[in-house]
Amino acid sequence: MLDRYGIVAIFALLAVIFPAVPLLLSWVIRPKKPNQSKRATYECGLEFEDFPEEAQNVWVQFRVQYYLFALIFVVFDVEVVYLYPWAVAYSALGLFALVEMIVFLGILLLALAYAWRNGLLEWT
């Protein structure tokens, strides 16, 4: 078991090296001639420098609907943590596990229906 996770550790090392190598290599061979207009933020059809100061920065508060979806996502993703072990052990657990899981999924379906009815699943 341990040597399997040893391979995982080696892959984790490779996962860092693998993107770093081409970045370093291209850092060596590519041209480096930056200038002001090259380094300006991309804008389509307008002069970025003409924007007022507060419009040049986009690190602003963003619309709240994204966070609502994130909340529903957390609920369902945590649920999966319970579903996977249940699914692995299902054949050994028998009928009781089935009833329990149907109750569990039923509650989640109710929650989904509640969110649905309140219009949380609609993008406006």
Partner: protein, 356 residues
Amino acid sequence: MDILNKLFTNIYDAINAFLNGLIGGFGLTADAVSAIVAAVMGLLVGTAVLLFGVGVVLTLIWLERKVAARVQDRVGPNRVGPFGLIQPVADTVKMFIKEDIVPTNADGLVHLLAPVIALAPAVLAFVVVPFGQGMAPADLNIGVLWIISVSSIGTIGLFMAGYGSNNKFALLGGMRAVAQAISYEVPQVLTIVPIILLAGSMSLVTIVQKQSAIWYVFLPVGLIAFVVYYISALAEVNRTPFDLPEGESEIVAGHHTEYSGMKFGLFYLAEYFNFFIVCTVATTLFLGGWQGPFLPSWLWFILKTYGLIILGMWIRMTIPRFRVDQLMKFAWQVLVPISLVNIILTALLLVFFKTG
């Protein structure tokens, strides 16, 4: 045929024996020798898998353009090499020699780390993929969970690209990428539960072995799970019809608007890596992995995976992009209920067939 089938495992054994002999000659303890050999073999396997992955990506770039050309009644790349086969190599060289431009307003560190974080999870996901009989780099007993948990990290890279660029198109693209990835991750994750129920294991190797009698896609519940998985996987890797994070006709290039040179190349690589991985996972879970008559196991695996990849390219060329509201609605109001009901259905059927 048996020689071909065991080709790669035999090469592995031969190198393993050679290393054992080589390092054993230094007079170290047996434990030290086996540890060093295991580490070197792990590095070799990892490098081989990554080189294979890069090769796959190069063929995918070529294939994607050729399929697109075929669908749109064009010829496609045909100047660089026979049938344009060297075109992806030329593209790669171009990525290497292009200047790297970082906007003055951007957060330099986040801008640099974003492509690395987008690509690293794709490499990690390769650990558990069984490329053929006895050819999984590591047969973890939590294989499915590993792939799912690792591949969702890549989304953070896309968001970092959007946020770090300090560009409104990039920010919109990054936000959309996160919203889409988390919405489609729920059906993608839920729809695998019936397969785990059927196989009674999360190890990808065991799941493939359990399919020796019948591939899960030929069972009714397996077919539903496969369709849901494939759709949400396409959305997860941001491919057209679900390419809203890039949406070139509305937000320029989405999260990689401000990227050029090799940093952009890494995003490109990550995108194709992820596409390849979701197709290998679909092959493993639903299409019986390496199982198949006559041909060697690894060839079957590659053939099935490329079949799914070409299906994805065909879908890309045929279906126009979704709107954001349609996208969210489809995930939460169609795919999630279907996969929840599918779980209950599978559990019920299993009880029914066991007792009756």
